[in-house]
Symmetry: C2
Subunit: 214 residues, 2 copies
Amino acid sequence: MSRYPKPSVTVDIVVFSIFDDHLKVLLIKRGRPPFEGRWALPGGFVEIDESLETAARRELAEETGLRITTLEQVHTFGDPGRDPRGRTISVVYCGLVQADQVSPKAASDAATVSWFSAFRPPALAFDHQQIIRCAIERLRQKLEWTTVGYELLPRRFTLAQFQRVYEIILQKPVDKRRFRRKILAQGELVEGGRARVPGSNRATKHYSFRRPHA
Amino acid sequence: MSRYPKPSVTVDIVVFSIFDDHLKVLLIKRGRPPFEGRWALPGGFVEIDESLETAARRELAEETGLRITTLEQVHTFGDPGRDPRGRTISVVYCGLVQADQVSPKAASDAATVSWFSAFRPPALAFDHQQIIRCAIERLRQKLEWTTVGYELLPRRFTLAQFQRVYEIILQKPVDKRRFRRKILAQGELVEGGRARVPGSNRATKHYSFRRPHA
DNA sequence: ACAAAAGTGTTGAGAGTACACCCATGC
DNA sequence: GCATGGGTGTACTCTCAACACTTTTGT
């Protein structure tokens, strides 16, 4: 086809989770140059016969042991110079997981996979800092007009937990009463009985999402 | 870098305009296989040292003679099989132009550049039909929470023209009074005196956008 | 008793919706 | 004088924002 030199094509995956009361992003420690020893987003080269989303899923599984169901394309980054090895364009996907679905130990090398604060990540390889910022922006926009949380919460959860998800992502307080009204009015939650929550002295209603999937 | 075969990387550009009371999209007729003689979006291979957006601008200018200021990345399409020549991923950009900014005659071959209905384009090469649908979807979403029209309207225009832009893109009628209130409340328009409009029998207020750009 | 989280309603403001008539002018 | 598009206001509903107290129970 084109006789010109081709750029390389990669996928990078921004996986968010929420635990320890913070928005976290999953990073791996690079084992080879460039940026050896630096933290980076999981990702890698797209195989010649797989779709972009498949590539993202595969790379994520290979590098972190994480199998994720819902990935969403965010943006494509392709500035010359973003990769010192040569021209590389990266298609970025974003996914959400519930904290305890993750077993970084399943990855090839557990020590190289870890969660970090999404808002204040460590020094990152390539333009990955910018990519994360872009993904956060998208996630926030999505909160405005959709119910986000299905992938982030356990099967049964309290409204307080749900609300906290919003507060953590938006980084601003949310009115309790309005939040409950709005969410319940959506009709996507179904009551699931009461239970104790550690730290509370009162039984709390639990809920789950009506639809088993997405 | 990667010793595996690399996909080719292209950009495709969806340029919308409005005239003859329809949403139009700019297409070129392919001069060589595959899909020789079929209509397609302007676009082409990304050079090894130019940014994606630059590539989009360049290809658009080369193939249509159109120089456009604001391009927005929409999505990246990369399914294997979308290009019979071999694996190709395409980063899609979208732009808006005012009808009379366009002079297809400036292109290398005028006969091969033309405007078509965006909603009912002719049979297209590759997955370009799907790409156009995706771009329309994005444009509509953008209408919901932003004022779109700066690039589509002449410097001075009437509110009726502006409203028509919305109706044509959304494909549904818009209430005249609400539209005027909403737009004027935004404070982004500035009055520009009255003038006659052909087809009307009364002088009409004209407006322009406050900010010269963006 | 008290600390800690759960749960609950009302009010006011602004935005969206629906809707119909007079105005100025060219013909 | 009539046909054509230009221009305007009101009433209703709904959604969003702001706001504080009572309940339950473990310690």
